[in-house]
């Protein structure tokens, strides 16, 4: 069997006295789409940062493409793994094109101009995410959905094959959610990207995934195909909340509704 894209074994992360992740183990195959779900504070975002080497594990092992993550230098890792964090209030003065070009950082030296290959990768990433016509606009002038697509374009420009996304559809209206989800499907189905997405969207994102990894209290509560986890009992255990499932969701999956007490 081929090397998995990502291997996590016995991962512990502690900040001071606080244990964020404990004994987390899983693998992600090449070209697999994994949705990471779980209640707030379960350690999902921390796990994602750890997979990109931004946080060092307290104990345990993370391998990317069969090689321990600490053996990579940052630029090398950036050529394989891209991370799209949740939107934050960074400097948004840059144009979309400048921002996407920054994605080429692991391939360029300090003062050298971008090469033909770099420009090609930037244009391809902008075309794929549909932000080419926004190239001259400043990031600050974009809508939330456009900004998220530009962020994904910059991550794609890095030229890796593993894409990590932290709540890619949060804060977006329905139209923009659909655009992002279509884009993720295309990257995964057509371009062969390995995708790991942290999400609270149990209907669309989870239904698109090959595998769902449910975290709770810093550990893996369940994992399996969406059809196994999209179950009233299983979801109730993961989230400590009641759910109602109805037929008719994306890709033949049920639709998940939070069940409210009617009385």
């Amino acid at each position: 069997m081929a090397e998995p894209a990502i291997l996590v074994d016995g991962l512990d992360i502690r900040f001071g006295e606080t244990e964020i992740l404990k004994q987390v183990s899983f693998t992600v195959g090449r070209g697999e789409f994994v949705a990471v779900i779980g209640p707030n504070g379960a350690g999902k975002s921390t796990l994602l940062r750890c997979l990109d080497g931004i946080i060092e594990p307290t104990a345990g092992r993370v391998e990317i493409g069969g090689r321990a993550i600490e053996e990579y230098n940052r630029r090398e890792l950036a050529r394989d793994v891209s991370y799209v964090p949740q939107p934050d209030a960074g400097s948004l003065d840059y144009t979309v094109r400048s921002f996407v070009e920054m994605g080429r950082y692991p391939h360029v030296t300090s003062w050298a101009a971008l090469t033909e290959a770099d420009s090609q990768a930037v244009i391809e990433a902008m075309n794929l995410t549909g932000v080419a016509e926004l190239a001259g606009r400043s990031m600050a002038s974009l809508s939330g959905g456009e900004r998220q697509r530009a962020s994904i374009a910059a991550a794609l420009a890095q030229g890796g094959s593993i894409l990590l996304l932290d709540e890619p559809t949060s804060f977006l209206d329905y139209r923009h959610q659909v655009q992002i989800l279509d884009l993720l499907d295309r990257l995964h189905d057509e371009k062969g990207f390995t995708v790991v997405a942290v999400t609270h969207d149990l209907n669309s994102t989870v239904a698109s995934a090959d595998t769902v990894l449910a975290l709770k209290n810093g550990g893996v509560e369940r994992s399996g195909p969406p059809s196994d986890l999209l179950d009233e009992k299983v979801l109730a255990e993961i989230f400590d909340a009641d759910f109602k499932l109805v037929a008719g969701g994306h890709r033949g999956m049920p639709l998940v509704l939070p069940a409210r007490n009617e009385t």
């Binding site: 940052r74 960074g90 003065d93 920054m102 692991p106 003062w111 890095q158």
Partner: protein
């Protein structure tokens, strides 16, 4: 006009400022002094030994302060961050105030008492901020800036205390230094400042792409391949030593560091590969012009240049605050 063309125009303007400012002054100088750098007649001495070093010092100082501001604004992702906001200038001032009050007189590696004391004070202030970031790496830039503000108040109160207990003469010397000024600079000041600013500038310019990424956020920067902690450390140290050297040479000249990068951002855009050279050119030229104005406004008396930069800088600062509030703070 593309940012590169604008940068070239800025470069030409800076060269013009460097060429013209030494010619301006109370004393009209014959053109013949230009060809006589080693001349001994008063006109040649005024031109080559007083005005030229002074314009050079102003340019180097302004360039260093502006470059330092551009770096800190990107690293702290805050439009108000400068080495001054974090206490570099007030630390240097405290160094000078203490040295004056205690009547210290020494020479360290060719540096006069004031220069050495200012440099030590600047590094002390930076050291405190640095220790905070090391002890608590999770501190946000807002908290660090607040810590800098608190340190500024602390140093200011110690300076006031020192002044209160000082003799009238010492007290005047301290106040005069605090105003910032290039009245006392000579070729030696230029020779002390130039290598410090040059080395700092090379270290910083080499990291222009990293500054772009740090400005968009530490997580994005790390994900793109920037070793964030190491890069921040190098930039922080290079900037602090550079600005410490400038403050030691010229006194605490305010607002250049904050104002110049913002004006340059409006002129050439946010990309640091054009913004950093633009800040160097604009900051240098701006301080050279302000210093010339300081020389001639009340001639033959001389205004401290800090009075002029702050006089222009403070209204700009207010405009910046209002503008940020209008577009919704992006910090």
């Amino acid at each position: 006009m593309s940012p590169r063309v604008r940068l070239a125009v800025l470069g030409l303007a800076a060269i013009a400022v460097l060429a013209l400012m030494p010619l301006i002054g109370l004393q009209a100088l014959p053109v013949s002094v230009l060809g006589d750098p080693r001349g001994t007649d008063p006109a040649a001495v005024i031109f080559w030994q007083i005005r030229v070093p002074r314009v050079m010092a102003a340019f180097i100082g302004g360039a260093g302060l502006a470059l330092g501001g551009a770096v800190f604004q990107a690293v702290f992702r805050n439009p108000l961050a400068t080495p001054y906001t974090l206490g570099v200038a007030s630390g240097a001032s405290l160094g000078v105030a203490l040295a004056s009050r205690l009547g210290l007189s020494f020479v360290v590696v060719g540096l006069s008492t004031n220069v050495a004391a200012a440099f030590a004070g600047a590094l002390l202030a930076v050291g405190v901020v640095w220790a905070l970031t090391k002890l608590r790496p999770d501190l946000s830039s807002t908290i660090l800036l607040l810590a800098g503000v608190a340190m500024n108040f602390f140093f200011s109160s110690v300076i006031l205390f020192v002044q209160y207990t000082a003799s009238l003469g010492d007290s005047y010397r301290i106040i005069r230094w605090l105003m910032g000024g290039l009245g006392a600079v000579d070729m030696r000041t230029v020779i002390h400042m130039a290598p410090v600013v040059l080395v700092g500038a090379v270290v910083i310019l080499w990291r222009a792409r990293e500054l772009d990424l740090l400005a968009t956020g530490p997580e994005i920067a790390a994900s793109r391949g920037v070793p964030v902690a190491r890069t921040r450390t190098i930039l922080f140290l290079a900037t602090s030593i550079m600005v410490g050297g400038v403050v030691a040479g010229c006194g605490p000249i305010g607002f250049v560091g904050m104002m110049a990068p913002h004006i340059c951002r409006l002129l050439v855009g946010p990309n640091h590969r054009t913004l950093l050279p633009a800040s160097i050119l604009f900051g240098g030229a701006f301080l050279a012009v302000c210093d010339t104005a300081a020389r001639i406004i009340l001639a033959p008396a001389e205004l401290p240049v800090g009075v002029i930069t702050a006089f222009l800088g403070a209204p700009f600062f207010l405009w910046l605050l209002v503008r940020n509030a209008r577009v919704g703070s992006n910090s």
